[in-house]
Structure formats: structure tokens, C-alpha cells
């Protein structure tokens, strides 16, 4: 069980800056994020898109913003728990017990939800009956490619993940690659390679087709795919892989007893606390009269939530407001020279 003063859910810009604020005022924190990297939407959705409304930063991309925030956290030792989703938040006296999808347990007086629009999850197939094969013969990511050896694998999607795996698995599997149109969004060299392997019959390519039906009772025997003109092809297959990118889902947050409206969490504007004492929401996921979904608003919200955390983490101490320009204590925390 990890003990911390505050647990932040979400490693996007708001979560990162909130961590900075917590550390400045002398509190510990750890950060959990379901993505395998730091940066949230900025890094997953628009790493290359310029942002023009970060105060004092005329222009920066999502990736640059993330890197700058990570640099700002350098003086502090903050533990990140990536590729983990917070599944449970349970009350335990005046503390919260938080459990992640990997079983990591935290005990903390403060939980700060900086979860954006929710956690990124793979987009799944929508055909009837797909659930019972999920994680067995229908997969959305590959942990061990050896399980496919000598088998028939049907890969759906048109991006780099789908194409890269089609190429990789064509070495020792029978690969069907199915995409809903005849253009791919993968890197050109990868697309060229797929066409080359299609010519040499190492990949069976089906474009303008989508999954229509899964056949089989205990295990998948075959799938039906349908094209734009309703023409159906039946493919024998052992595995079905879907690479349709990531979608954002509120997920387990909905089950923590919070007031939720339209996928956002209601908070007050003094502490950014939810209806549960010690649980805060900041950034895009919080909602209050006048809320703006801007990165700069997330920074402000995080700064206030951090001060609220102090009261619960250090009930016997009085919080003292200090500036980074003048406070010796803060300078020591930052590891910078004290005049």
C-alpha cells in the first residue's frame, strides 16, 4: 500500500501542473494515467498542433507543452504509474483507498481527478456477440505475438498499428488485413510494404470491407466481412485484431458517488472539491458555473485544489502562502540557490 498526501488521476497538463503546485507547498503526490505516456490529450490527440493561448507562451505544440511541464517537475521526485487505470476509490475513515487496474493500492486523504474527458481506451468492434471472444481471440493490443504462430489472423484498421502488425505477423501467420476504405493513414513506407506483401500473397488485403458477423460458439471459426455494395466474404480465422485508435471513456469515475452531469464532475470553485470530501476534480473534467475548457483554467483549478489538499494532509499545520520569488522554503524544495 502506497501512502501519499495526494493522488492525481491523469497525467495531462492539468495533472502535471497540479503536481507542481502540491510539491511547491510541501506535499507528496503520485500520478496514475491509463495511457502509456505522459501528456494526456496533448500528447495523444494533438502532439503536433500548435496551441496559442497558454499565458506567456505565444505558440507551442501539445508535445512541447508536455515537455515543458515535465521539465518544470524536474526538481521533484514524482512517481508516475502509467498504463494503469484507477478502478476503485473507497472511503476508509478519513482516507481514500485507491486501486488501479494493475492492483496498485494507495492510501491518501486527497484524490485529485484531472481526467480530461475520461481515460483513453481502445475503440472496440460493434458487431453482436463480440464480447464473449474479447481478450481471448478478439484483441485490441498484442502482448505476446508468439500465440499467433501458424494461425490465421484477421487484422482490422488502416493506421500504423494495423499495418505494422500485418507486416510483422505475415512472417509466420496467415494474415488478412481489412480496412473500410482503400486509403491508409499509416506512414508511406509502411503502406508501400503492405502493398508489396499483398502482391506476393503474404497478406490478403480486403479494402472497403468492414466486420459484419462473427461465427463460432466457443471459439471463432470464421468472420463475415461486408463491403460498401453489401457483398459478403467469409474468412476462416483464429484471431481477430482491431486497431481503430483510442476513444475517451469516463469509465469507473462514474461509480465513485460523485455528482456527474454530461461526463463532467460538479465542483465548488473554492477548493474544486466534489460532493465527496477529499476528492477534487480539475481541468476539463470539472464543471461549475462559468467553466471554460482551457488549459489555463486547469492550472488555476489545480493550484486551488492543491491548497485544499494541504488542510487534509497536514491537519495540524497552518498553510502559509508564499511566493517562489522570495520564499527560502520553496527555493529549498526547488533546489535553487537561496540568496
Amino acid at each position: 500500500m502506497i501512502k501519499t498526501d495526494a493522488l492525481i488521476i491523469g497525467a495531462g497538463p492539468t495533472g502535471l501542473f497540479t503536481a507542481h503546485q502540491l510539491k511547491l507547498i510541501g506535499l507528496d503526490c503520485e500520478i496514475v494515467d491509463n495511457l502509456d505516456k505522459i501528456g494526456g490529450q496533448c500528447i495523444e490527440l494533438y502532439p503536433d498542433k500548435p496551441i496559442y493561448d497558454i499565458p506567456a507562451v505565444p505558440e507551442c505544440t501539445g508535445e512541447e507543452l508536455t515537455n515543458n511541464l515535465i521539465n518544470q517537475l524536474k526538481p521533484f521526485d514524482i512517481k508516475f504509474h502509467l498504463s494503469e487505470r484507477v478502478d476503485e476509490v473507497k472511503k476508509d475513515g478519513d482516507k481514500w483507498i485507491v486501486k488501479t487496474s494493475k492492483g496498485t493500492l494507495f492510501t491518501t486523504p486527497n484524490v485529485i481527478i484531472a481526467g480530461g474527458v475520461g481515460s483513453f481506451e481502445p475503440r472496440k468492434f460493434s458487431v453482436e456477440g463480440h464480447e464473449k471472444f474479447e481478450n481471448k481471440s478478439i484483441l485490441y493490443s498484442i502482448k505476446d505475438k508468439n500465440i499467433f504462430k501458424g494461425k490465421t489472423v484477421s487484422i482490422f484498421g488502416g493506421g500504423d498499428s494495423a499495418l505494422d502488425w500485418a507486416i510483422e505477423l505475415s512472417n509466420n501467420c496467415n494474415v488478412n488485413l481489412i480496412h473500410r476504405r482503400d486509403e491508409f493513414r499509416g506512414a508511406q513506407a509502411t503502406v508501400d510494404k503492405v502493398h508489396e506483401l499483398t502482391k506476393s500473397k503474404k497478406i490478403n488485403l480486403f479494402t472497403k470491407f468492414q466486420l459484419k458477423k462473427i461465427n463460432g460458439s466457443n471459439k471463432i471459426e470464421s468472420i463475415d466481412i461486408e463491403d460498401d455494395d453489401k457483398k459478403i466474404e467469409n474468412l476462416k480465422t483464429d484471431y481477430v485484431l482491431g486497431f481503430f485508435g483510442l476513444i475517451m471513456q469516463l469509465g469507473p469515475i462514474a461509480n465513485w458517488g460523485l455528482n456527474i452531469d454530461k461526463k463532467t464532475v460538479e465542483v465548488d470553485t473554492e477548493k474544486f472539491e466534489t460532493n465527496q470530501k477529499g476528492i477534487y476534480a480539475v481541468g476539463d473534467i470539472c464543471n461549475y458555473p462559468g467553466k471554460l475548457k482551457l488549459i489555463l483554467s486547469g492550472f488555476h483549478e489545480g493550484a486551488l485544489a492543491a491548497r485544499a489538499c494541504f488542510k487534509l494532509a497536514r491537519p495540524n499545520e497552518k498553510y502559509r502562502f508564499e511566493f517562489t520569488t522570495s520564499s527560502k522554503t520553496i527555493k529549498n524544495r526547488l533546489g535553487v540557490k537561496v540568496d
Binding site: 493506421g159 493513414r185 481503430f244
Partner: protein, 106 residues
């Protein structure tokens, strides 16, 4: 100004007047029409404002932007007449436009 009809997957109709220059996505969000999430806020970075444009309208509206089909690959049940509603700009020419919404966005 254009009258736009949004049809939910369950058949519920919503007809609203949308100002020129706004997107079809904004028209729905501003009028609290359910069925369009627009998680990324219109930056063509997600596929949660996905709509099906009625056949006779599909060729009349502005063409798909570069990258729009890439996002539509990630939409829920994309079809031939799929569009991201954040990329359809409203003008007088769109008066009478009808869009169908998918069963769900995420």
C-alpha cells in the same frame, strides 16, 4: 442561417436554426441536442461528432478535409456517408440539411 435537422438513432428529430459560419457540431451542442459528444471541441482530433449525411446532401456540402477520413476510421460504425459534423460549415445553402446520428459516439 440554415434549418438543420438532427435525427437521433432512436428516431427523435430536432430541427434548429443554426447561424452561418458555425459548424453542424456547434449547432447541436449549443442547442443541447443529444447524440453529438465532440470530445475534442472541434479540432478534428477525435471522432465523437460523427454523423451520417443524407445521400442527396452529401455531395452538396463542403468536401472532407484532409485527415477527416483518418479520424472517421476511428468512429463508431462509419459508412460511406459519414462525416465529422465539426467539419461541416453552416451557410444558407445548407438550409434543410438532415443528418442522422450513430447509435453512439464512443
Amino acid at each position: 442561417m440554415a434549418k438543420i435537422t438532427y435525427i437521433e438513432h432512436n428516431g427523435t428529430n430536432h430541427t434548429v436554426e443554426v447561424q452561418n459560419g458555425l459548424t453542424v457540431m456547434e449547432g447541436a451542442v449549443q442547442n443541447n441536442i443529444p447524440g453529438i459528444d465532440a470530445d475534442c471541441g472541434g479540432s478534428m482530433a477525435c471522432a465523437t461528432c460523427h454523423v451520417y449525411v443524407k445521400e442527396d446532401w452529401f455531395d452538396k456540402i463542403n468536401k472532407k478535409n484532409e485527415g477527416e477520413d483518418d479520424m472517421l476510421d476511428q468512429a463508431y460504425e462509419p459508412k460511406k456517408n459519414s462525416r465529422l459534423s465539426c467539419q461541416i460549415i453552416v451557410s444558407d445553402d445548407l438550409d434543410g440539411l438532415i443528418v442522422d446520428m450513430p447509435y453512439k459516439q464512443t
